[in-house]
């Protein structure tokens, strides 16, 4: 057996108890935090399996298998070659395993809701995580490659800047867009029903402006003015308008796009001043 297959199988063996452990622990933590009772499985699963114990055991095995699949799939990310393809395979493998588990365990059939809307929401959040990881790693590798290139006395990138600098600014666009898409659905369930501090105050007044500013400044410092960044920020903000409470306004999106633009230009200026000093 190939060493990497052996490695993947051993990770799968570790993944099974981890997955099974999480499915037992999460409902207990949720129950303690919300002050309600502990409910290990959904009502729909209990109905289909007949007893709570049967439903819990079935879910235990399913999520354990999901954990094993996640452990096994980590091998994709260790392969050489295109990180983009390896990540895509990793995502597809895991989303398939997650879909099978969610369907069998009836996770998205709460209060008679249909499966797909919630499932698509979770899939979108997971996809956004992958995009964030890709963008962050791309930015880190670029920095490493630039440092090695400089030390070896090599010329900068062999071809000139791409149109509208789309290639150079892509990781920053993706990072900013993913955060704008991801933070709201992640924070919304954690917010209090009466005073939504997270989505009403923290997100619109701190997180979003900070994300726009940092992405703009970092891209500007590295590559100069990046015209695609402000429209990308505005576009990524738009899904936030679909949430009803607290309601956001289009003018906020324009403000964030403006922040991205201003900080991008400041970053470009900073980068130029640093170069002149050197």
């Amino acid at each position: 057996m190939k060493p990497e297959i052996k490695k993947a199988l051993s990770r799968a063996c570790i993944g099974f108890p981890c997955g099974a452990g999480v499915v037992c622990l999460l409902p207990i933590l949720w129950g303690c935090a919300s002050g309600g009772g502990v409910c290990l499985t959904t009502g729909a699963l209990v109905l289909s399996k007949g007893t709570e114990a049967g439903a819990a055991l079935f879910q235990f095995l399913c999520v354990g298998t999901l954990g094993a699949a996640i452990g096994f799939s980590s091998i994709f990310l260790e392969r050489e070659g295109s990180f983009l393809w390896n990540s895509l395979w990793h995502f597809l493998f895991n989303i398939t395993a997650f879909t099978a588990t969610a369907w069998n365990c009836r996770w998205f059939e709460v209060r008679g809701d249909r499966f797909f809307p919630r499932y698509l929401g979770v899939t979108a959040v997971l996809a956004a995580f992958y995009l964030i990881v890709w963008a962050a790693r791309c930015i880190a590798w670029r920095s490493d490659v630039a440092a090695i290139r400089k030390k070896m006395g090599l010329a900068e990138a062999q071809s000139g800047p791409s149109p509208l600098k789309w290639r150079e600014s892509l990781p920053y666009l993706v990072l900013a867009a993913a955060l704008f898409l991801l933070l709201r659905p992640l924070l919304a369930p954690l917010d209090g029903p009466d005073v939504p501090v997270l989505t009403g105050l923290l997100l619109p007044w701190l997180c979003y402006p900070f994300t726009a500013a940092v992405a703009g400044f970092a891209a500007g410092r590295q590559y100069g003015p990046c015209p695609l960044l402000p429209p990308a920020v505005l576009t990524a903000f738009l899904p936030n308008l679909l949430f009803f409470s607290p309601a956001y306004d289009l003018s906020q999106g324009l403000a964030y796009a403006g922040i991205a633009l201003v900080f991008n230009l400041l970053g470009a200026l900073w980068g130029k001043l640093r170069q002149k000093q050197k």
């Binding site: 990180f83 590798w141 490493d144 490659v145 090695i148 070896m152 990138a157 062999q158 892509l170």
Partner: protein, 148 residues
Amino acid sequence: MRVEFRPEPGCGEPYLVLVAEERSGETDALMAKLSALGTGPLPGRRGDEARLLGPEEVLRFYGGTKEVFAHCADGSEWQLRERLYELEERFCPGGAFLRISNSEIVNVKRVTGLDLSLAGTIRMTLDGEVVCYVSRRYVKKIKKALGI
């Protein structure tokens, strides 16, 4: 500079150790010169043909654990007796060569370009438009070897 000789019975091939307070450009240059003393020509063969290859004419060494080849600047490729890890021990410490992946060692002076694609592959170009790929796992080691 103080020079000392320390006999060490059973050490096999003689080796040099440079002692300094900290690593600097001067120590790196000295190490490169001293390493070059042990980097004599390599015997290579191609079918029935045999030739001594000078390290300066080699673009890269590549291969697996069993067969290792030297790709020269004139485009010729020669099979070597040495294993890749032996070539690494012999040529890399001085900084003239750099290991970029499990199966490749490149001549630093022959590198003409280094680019990162959006897919995450790091493409290194050598003299004569020869292309090879840097393993992402080796980036940290390369930075360390270059003193970054």
